[in-house]
């Protein structure tokens, strides 16, 4: 069995390791199979340095038409399965065609790589960065090994990106249903960083319905495509109860929602003309008969540099 199985096994083992592999911060990444793996974290314009080790099995000879390593930035749309759009593609040739008899190490380096987008794992979209080693062969499939890594942008501290929003107005609004419900709500800011806390309040001007409770939802809207082909997927990432019971006129209910527990990303606008990710605060009032009255407001998320 082993012998037979060995026949179809790749004849060599490839491993990719990064130069600062041990020290680099790692973050979890969800794979297709649902499991999370820890992958290294990079910022844009960092140098990606490391080495590739190829180790043939049992002293076998590996014949090849060349070895290369690619750095790919890909956008994958799930409903369009199999279609990758590479928005970044860099190649380093590691070896000329020839034979491999023994373990061989190839150092590589991608210097100040422009990686314009953050990694993103959504419902319909995946934006990922990957290092791909390919041993090209004749007549038989190429041998390929991937190493995922994650890119995040931190607005603060990185020169090339927008500083924290200079204008950050509060969101303030009066909404209601005539003669039924009239409320005024206020969120202290319109732009929040990912570890921020949303402070605000809801003021009840008129209450003629029997409210059971009130909650604040954080909703994420991914939209892909354009024109008639626009595909929108919305998911609710947080449900945060703000109020229990029925208020009367004149009550003012505080909001304090910490964003850190939720898996949020910054707001993305039109990434590579492929997709956008927007965030909304949805204020929902539920009445005695489980009717929902809501008001959705977009807010922006951005990333602060952690440990600058």
């Amino acid at each position: 069995m082993n012998f037979l199985a060995g026949a179809f096994k790749p004849p060599c083992k490839i491993s990719i390791s990064l130069a600062d592999g041990g020290a680099r911060k790692k973050v979890p990444l969800k794979k297709e199979n649902g499991q999370s793996v820890m992958v290294p974290l990079f910022h844009s314009q960092e140098n990606i340095v490391g080495e590739v080790i190829i180790e043939p099995l049992y002293g076998k000879k590996v014949e090849h038409n060349g070895v290369k390593i690619e750095l790919l930035g890909q956008i994958e749309l799930y409903f369009d399965r199999g279609n990758f759009y590479d928005f970044t593609s860099l190649v380093r040739e590691l070896d000329v065609p020839g034979d491999l008899y023994e373990r061989k190490t190839y150092p590589f380096e991608f210097s100040t790589v422009e990686m314009p987008y953050e990694s993103y794992n959504g419902v319909n979209i995946r934006l990922r960065y990957v290092l791909k080693v390919t041993i090209s062969r004749n007549f038989v499939p190429n041998i390929v090994e991937y190493l995922d890594f994650v890119i995040i942008y931190s607005v603060v501290g990185v020169r090339n990106y927008s500083p924290p929003p200079a204008i950050n107005n509060s969101i303030k609004m009066e909404v209601g249903i005539e003669d039924c419900l009239h409320i005024e709500f206020e969120y202290s800011k319109s732009k929040y960083h990912l570890k921020d806390v949303i402070i605000g309040k809801i003021y009840f001007l008129l209450v003629r319905i029997k409210i059971k409770n009130m909650e604040l939802e954080i909703r994420r809207r991914e939209s892909t495509g354009s024109g008639t082909n626009t595909y929108v997927e919305t998911e609710t990432l947080a449900k945060f109860e703000l109020m229990d019971g029925a208020p009367v006129r004149g009550e003012s209910i505080p909001i304090r929602l910490f964003l850190s527990p939720y898996e949020l990303t910054p707001t993305y606008r039109n990434i590579n003309n492929k997709f956008s990710v927007k965030y909304f605060l949805n204020l929902v009032l539920v009445d005695d008969e489980d009717r929902r009255y809501f008001k959705q407001q977009e807010f922006q998320l951005y990333r602060l540099l952690e440990n600058p």
Binding site: E241, M243, D244, E251, P254, F258, S260, P261
Partner: protein
């Protein structure tokens, strides 16, 4: 339906407890392994059981208490966690990640408690944040319990003066602000309960609300415990803010309860100094609030305070407590025109009690209260409502209890005017109370003016009021009443005869209006009082100044004569006769022969004209004989007339034995030991012989009618009379007569027709023994008896 409801509730409670305990178990496990994440997770799940809406407050409380116990554990854990290096600020944020608001806030309060203890932030900031965040719970029951939890964990962490959490210069204000805010919010939630849910559940809701009221009231208690709240602060901040909330909530139950709370939890001194503010709030309360109880309690408290120490009394004067209460009460009554009489009276009753305690020297205040009460009652006629009358009785009893002295109450001019509003039975009860009070305190009324006033008060007992349904009167009650009046009359006394006479005159004037049913009760004590005065006068020189206006026995007797005469209208001849005889005897002692004669005459007239029952006749006659025997004031002629009459009556009695006994009793009329001129042996013997004849006749009659001669008892009795006079030295009674009588008796006893009578045998035996005894005595007596042979 209802039963199902409670059964279901039990089920829900059981399920809630089970869920709570299960999560508590996991929480404990997490705590034991120092797993903060799991601890938070399971504690939040545990607290989620408190989100239920299916339990009544009572059952919810049970669930809450279990959660409360668990939270204590959790708090200790949080504290340990901070000691292990977990930042309290991080913890404070971490618990706020919980998605459900109720568990989140319970956890926040719990961590908040640790936060304050850590002193990493000023207590006031943490407390302010907590009380602010709690606004998220708008459900009344859940909100009340949550805030009650907040109050519970914070009460030892207020930034009070002297507390370890004391902050900057405004620290007390911060503490007070926090409690006030929590109180305000809780009260709002509590009041809101009233307006939620269907109208048909109103009763149940009110019951539930009353179960929850202590949660709200506790805040006031906390306020009262804050050291830093001095009078000034109480006056400027605490009380106005609390009252503002009380007045503005416009809720009957809350207003009533909270007013009561305010009165109970804060010190008396504060109340006294803030009376204006407190009383000013009363008219602003809802009309349905029972302000009278509120005010009554306040007055009661202050009364007790005043009673506690004399040193505090100046404070009352200084703040003019009385006039403030007085005007507050009239404002409240004006503001509530529909207030029932009972309310009005209760208010005045409390005010009076207060006045009596605080201003015991100011009778005019008390009178003012009564006057105001009369004014409010006027135009309402007699009060029918039994509770109102009860209150009036309380109102009127208050001065009596306070002064222990009806005399003081008599000075209150409005007192009787209030009594007039009582219905007749109650009026009597009140009069009874007054008399009881006097009895108890041995109050002496010593002027006729006071007597006048007193009788004005108790006139319900003294005469029939117009339209009294007399037939409904219970005989026993009536007797009881009248007996107490009689006792009262005995207590009216003045050492000065002049004054005493005036009193008697006044009493007489009043009791004579009492009607035939009362006179037999009231006349005798009056007569006795008068006779007492007579005896007192005897001790003095009669009429020392020769002054016509002075009180003399003669005058009194005149009065007595007229008084007793009134009994004829009753009629009560036996009683009148006794009284006449008593008066006669008194007159005898005063050496007033004509007066005594007059009384006897009256007595005889009564005997002849009014007393027809033979038994009464016997009693009356013996009384007459007894009294007459003691009279020494009469001249021969008068005495003759009277004794003659008496013997005449004796012979006219219906039954022979009675005749016999009366006649031998008459024999004493002719023999008065101390007066030699009143010893007429012959007539004594005549009487005795006549008695013997009658006895004989009686035997014969008996023989004729029944075939036996009956007892020899009468003979033995006569024998004893013989012996008496024999011993007294009546010359007409001699040995022969006695000897003859003894033999007669012996013969009779042996006769066949005589009925055996052991009593008679014994009587005779002892009589004979007496004779033997006297014989053996020797000396003069022995010699005298010697000839008698037995």
């Amino acid at each position: 339906m209802m039963l199902d409801g409670t059964e279901d509730e039990e089920k829900f409670l059981a399920a809630g407890i089970a869920g709570l305990q299960q999560n508590a178990f996991y929480m404990h496990r997490a705590l034991d392994s120092n797993n903060l994440r799991d601890a938070l997770k399971y504690s939040a799940q545990m607290l989620s059981e408190l989100r239920t809406s299916k339990l009544s407050p009572h059952k919810y409380y049970e669930l809450y208490m279990r959660a409360f116990d668990q939270l204590r554990r959790l708090e200790i854990f949080f504290q340990e966690e901070t000691r292990r290096g977990c930042s309290i600020i991080d913890l404070y944020e971490l618990v706020q990640h919980a998605g459900n608001i109720l568990p989140r806030l319970y956890l926040l309060c719990t961590v908040g408690s640790v936060y304050i203890k850590s002193k990493e932030a000023p207590a006031k900031d943490v407390l302010k944040d907590l009380v602010e965040m709690c606004r998220g719970i708008q459900n009344p029951v859940r909100g009340l319990f949550l805030r009650s939890y907040l109050s519970q964990i914070s009460r030892d962490k207020l930034p009070d003066i002297g507390s370890e959490y004391e902050g900057d210069s405004d620290t007390v204000t911060d503490a007070v602000e926090f409690v006030l805010q929590n109180f305000t919010e809780m009260n709002k939630l509590w009041v809101r309960m009233q307006h939620q849910g269907p109208a048909r559940d109103k009763e149940r809701r009110e019951k539930e609300r009353s179960e929850l009221r202590d949660l709200v009231g506790k805040n006031l208690h906390v306020l009262s415990q804050i050291e830093g709240v001095d009078l000034e602060m109480y006056k400027d901040i605490v009380l106005p803010r609390v009252l503002e909330q009380v007045v503005n909530c416009k809720d009957e139950i809350a207003q009533f309860y909270l007013m009561d709370c305010i009165i109970q939890v804060f010190p008396d001194v504060y109340h006294l100094q803030t009376l204006d503010i407190l009383l000013g709030a009363c008219p602003q309360l809802q009309p349905s609030v029972d302000v009278k109880i509120v005010l009554s309690q306040l007055m009661e408290r202050l009364s007790n305070y005043a009673a506690s120490s004399a040193e505090v009394l100046p404070e009352f004067l200084q703040v003019e407590a009385f006039s403030k209460f007085s005007s507050a009460i009239s404002k409240v009554i004006e503001a509530q025109p529909d207030m029932p009489t009972v309310g009005v009276v209760t208010l005045y009753s409390s005010l009076l009690t207060f006045t009596l305690h605080v201003h015991s020297d100011r009778l005019d205040y008390a009178d003012q209260v009564l006057g105001a009460c009369v004014k409010k009652l006027s135009g309402k006629g007699k009060i029918e409502d039994s509770r109102a009358t009860k209150q009036i009785v309380a109102l009127l009893s208050a001065p009596l209890e306070k002064y222990n002295d009806i005399v003081t109450a008599l000075k209150l001019s409005n007192y009787p005017r209030v009594m007039e509003y009582l219905d007749i039975p109650t009026n009597k009860v009140m009069a009874g109370v007054i008399i009881q009070s006097m009895m108890k305190n041995r109050t002496r009324i010593s002027t006729s003016d006071k007597v006048e006033a007193l009788f004005e008060l108790i006139k319900g007992l003294l005469k029939d009021s117009d339209g009294t349904p007399t037939d409904e009167l219970d005989e026993d009650d009536f007797q009881e009443e009248q007996n107490s009046v009689a006792r009262l009359i005995q207590m009216l006394y003045n050492e000065e005869p002049e004054d005493m006479f005036k009193i008697i005159d006044t009493v007489r004037k009043h009791i004579l209006t009492g009607g035939p049913k009362r006179l037999p009760f009231t006349v005798p004590p009056l007569v006795f009082s008068s006779l007492k005065l007579v005896r007192q006068l005897q001790g003095q020189d009669e009429n020392p100044f020769g002054d016509d206006t002075a009180t003399t026995p003669k005058k009194i007797f005149q009065l007595l004569n007229q008084t007793i005469e009134t009994l004829s209208a009753v009629p009560a001849p036996e009683l009148a006769l006794r009284l006449y005889l008593l008066c006669a005897e008194a007159a005898n002692d005063s050496d007033l022969e004509p007066v005594a004669y007059e009384f006897f005459t009256q007595a005889y007239i009564l005997y002849e004209e009014e007393i027809s029952d033979s038994r009464s006749q016997i009693t009356a006659l013996h009384l007459i004989i007894g009294t007459l025997q003691r009279m020494h004031v009469f001249g021969v002629e008068n005495r003759d007339t009277l004794t003659h009459k008496a013997t005449g009556y004796s012979a006219k009695l219906l039954k022979k034995p009675d005749q016999c006994r009366a006649v031998y009793a008459c024999s004493h009329l002719f023999w008065v030991d101390d007066h030699d001129d009143l010893k007429d042996g012959e007539r004594v013997l005549l009487c005795l012989k006549r008695a013997l004849r009658i006895a004989n006749a009686a035997q014969q009659m008996s023989n004729a009618a029944r075939g036996s001669t009956g007892s020899v008892m009468l003979f033995i009795e006569i024998l004893n009379k013989y012996l008496y006079f024999f011993e007294k030295g009546n010359p007409q009674v001699n040995v022969a007569a006695i000897q003859g009588l003894i033999e007669l008796i012996m013969t009779e006893m042996q006769s066949d027709t005589t009925t055996a009578d052991p009593a008679a045998d014994a009587f005779l035996a002892s009589t004979l023994r007496y004779i033997q005894f006297q014989k053996q005595k020797g000396g003069v007596v022995g010699e005298k008896y010697e000839p008698i042979k037995v």
